[in-house]
């Protein structure tokens, strides 16, 4: 049976690259808009700026911190020891998973359904493995922990955003001179944003670049990084001061201007976090295909994700952004949200922190759902005028529907590939 791999190895590899790139392109074209939507919607960034930020930080996140989740998708969901005899099935299955998740993403984007790429790829992998091969192939404890993380991540983001916004209220908004207080305390939030992102990168992300840090070194370097960010931010805040004096704006206008600068930083963190978690949806399966095909049928559970694969995913996301994502962004930019930067930053920072931590622990979670949880957290702190729970319900429904649809499609494609090649 392994002859299939030697015979069609190149075709399978090329197909894997095409499907993986297609999926990454889909993520860039569609999913990124959600990650950046809060910044654009609250007018902290223009559409052009958001795309620039997304390009740079999605790429950096995918390349520097995307490895852990990629390993989970590649070999965490499927128990490799069970299918050592038939490695080609894993290749067919991963191809099917990529194709079905990509197509589902395309359909959903067309109709404007808020689907999660993470849920479709996990559903697809579980689907082909459990139905196409055998129920025992699926490593259910891992799947259970992933599904649990889908519940935990929005709750965690919501709790963090609640606390963040409450601290903003106490430290800044409800003080005599909120403008001065904002200038004093906002750099600390910048430090926090820089620290969390750097921490995950230092701890988990730089191995394939050839750098390895201990926990204490990581903390030290992350603190340094955070301080640099905060310093940079403080310099930018100086400028706001002068602009406000010239324009003679009202109290909260000036405060929101300061938070808008903070939001530029949290938007970078958000794009980084999104890249670090969602790139795996495209290249996790690709990495599995590559390792099986290149080793000539060995399901090598040990090897790390080759950097060039991360590169393919990162490039795909950026290309998706550049070709179609900007159009989605413009639509998002037109949607006037009543989310002000002092609220938007709290939601973004909470979501980015949660996602990046999940990336560090290798859990594939949905950025959009985490962000929804974070927004609700700000709402609970009475930060947002009105939140449409109908839409929230639809988003939750979509993640439930996505699992069987992703699974069904991938089972279909799995048997098609199997029939075609074997």
């Amino acid at each position: 049976m392994v002859e299939v791999l030697s015979e069609h190895g190149h075709v399978l590899l090329i197909l894997g690259c095409i499907f993986g790139f297609f999926m990454a392109w889909g993520i860039g074209a569609n999913d990124v808009a959600n990650a950046m939507g809060t910044s654009v919607g609250s007018r902290a960034l223009t559409v052009a700026q958001a795309i620039l930020v997304a390009c740079i930080f999605e790429f950096a996140g995918a390349y520097l911190a995307g490895g852990e989740v990629t390993s989970t998708i590649r070999k965490g969901i499927i128990d490799a020891s069970v299918i050592e005899e038939t490695p080609e099935l894993l290749v067919f299955g991963m191809l099917a998973a990529l194709l079905s998740a990509g197509i589902w993403l395309l359909i959903a984007s067309y109709f404007g359904w808020p689907v999660s790429t993470t849920h479709s790829i996990v559903g697809a992998i579980v689907g082909f493995a459990a139905v196409g091969i055998d129920v025992d192939v699926v490593y259910w404890p891992k799947v259970a922990s992933i599904v649990a993380s889908w519940v935990v991540s929005p709750v965690m983001a919501g709790t963090i955003s609640f606390l963040l916004f409450t601290s903003v209220k106490k430290l800044i908004l409800q003080k005599e001179d909120p403008f001065m207080c904002a200038k004093r305390y906002v750099p600390f939030y910048m430090l926090l944003a820089g620290f969390v992102v750097a921490m995950v990168t230092f701890l988990k992300g730089l191995k394939h670049v050839g750098l390895s840090f201990t926990a204490i070194e990581s903390i030290a370097w992350s603190l340094v990084f955070g301080l640099i960010i905060a310093l940079l931010g403080t310099l930018l805040l100086q400028r706001v001061d002068n602009e406000i004096k010239e324009k003679n704006g009202t109290m909260f206008d000036g405060v929101e201007k300061i938070f808008a600068i903070l939001m530029v930083f949290t938007a970078c963190a958000m794009a980084f976090a999104h890249g670090s978690n969602d790139v795996a949806n495209a290249i996790g399966p690709l990495a599995a295909i590559v390792s099986v095909v290149q080793s000539g049928g060995e399901i090598a559970a040990k090897s790390v994700v080759p950097p060039w694969i991360l590169m393919v995913g990162a490039a795909g996301i950026v290309l998706g952004l550049a070709t179609l994502g900007f159009r989605v962004m413009i639509t998002v930019g037109r949607a006037i949200t009543e989310l002000t930067p002092s609220r938007g930053f709290a939601a973004e920072l909470a979501a980015a922190g949660t996602v990046v931590i999940a990336s560090g622990t290798g859990l594939p979670i949905s950025t959009t759902h985490t962000l929804v949880g974070a927004v609700l957290g700000v709402g609970l702190a009475r930060g947002i005028g009105a939140i449409n729970l109908g839409v929230v319900g639809k988003i939750i429904l979509s993640w439930i529907v996505t699992l069987p649809v992703g699974a069904g499609l991938s089972i279909l494609f799995f048997f098609a590939f199997k029939g075609f090649f074997a």
């Binding site: 919607g41 404007g112 998002v332 989310l339 009105a386 939140i387 988003i395």
Partner: protein, 225 residues
């Protein structure tokens, strides 16, 4: 991308519309002030122009009211209670409505304001209109409170504003009582139907102050949640 996308979860905040509605109500109250001054001088041409403005403002207020209500489906998760908000809109809408009713009755009957109490009548109505301006200031405060995330410091400021509003309403009550008293002493000299309608108008003007006070009370409830 339809409204079901992630950003669709941000519904329109009701606060800007509330201010818009209150602003229209306040303008209607000010036009009523102009109207009453013209009526006092029996200048019915000018009065009917003011009456026209009041009608337009009342229509505008109805439009805003409907907009607020239709943007408040039950599945909204808001920083204030939906019931309080609807109560508030209902109360606020009473200001332009009452202004319209008062001007309507007076213009329909070309109602002369009795000479002996006309100054008293005008200062009473001026005081009432001051109360609606105070209610408007309280709503502006609520907008600020919302921007600051409903802090207790702001809530205290609002309570102070509403306490002033209560004070104004009390003064209006006293002015109303004095006006009724003084008119009672001379009412025999006027046609009974005119007397009836004059009392009715006094009553309605007084109710404007009550409405402003109610608005203030609902605002406190709204903020404290």
């Amino acid at each position: 991308m339809s409204n079901d996308s992630f950003l669709g979860m941000f519904a329109k905040s009701p606060f800007s519309s509330l201010q818009e509605h209150m602003d229209v109500g306040k303008r209607a109250a000010i036009e009523l002030q102009n109207f009453l001054n013209s009526a006092k001088k029996s200048d019915w041409d000018a009065a009917s122009q003011y009456r026209q403005k009041i009608i337009e403002l009342e229509h505008a207020a109805d439009g805003i009211k409907n907009k607020i209500r239709s943007n408040l489906p039950k599945f909204l998760f808001m920083s204030v209670s939906r019931e309080d908000l609807l109560d508030l809109v209902y109360a606020m809408d009473g200001i332009p409505n009452t202004a319209k009713d008062i001007s309507g009755i007076m213009i329909g009957r070309h109602m002369e304001i009795p000479e002996q109490v006309s100054d008293q009548f005008i200062s009473f109505s001026n005081a009432v209109i001051k109360a609606s301006e105070q209610a408007s200031a309280a709503i502006e405060k609520v907008d600020e409170i919302q921007k600051s995330g409903f802090g207790s410091r702001d809530a205290v400021l609002l309570q102070e504003l509403v306490a002033e509003l209560e004070q104004l309403e009390q003064e209006d009550d006293e002015l109303e009582a004095a006006l009724r008293n003084d008119f009672f002493l001379i009412e025999k000299g006027f046609p009974p139907v005119d007397v009836m309608f004059f009392y009715d108008i006094i009553n309605r003007i007084g109710s404007l102050a009550d409405i402003s006070q109610t608005v203030g009370h609902i605002l406190i409830r709204l903020v404290s949640k």
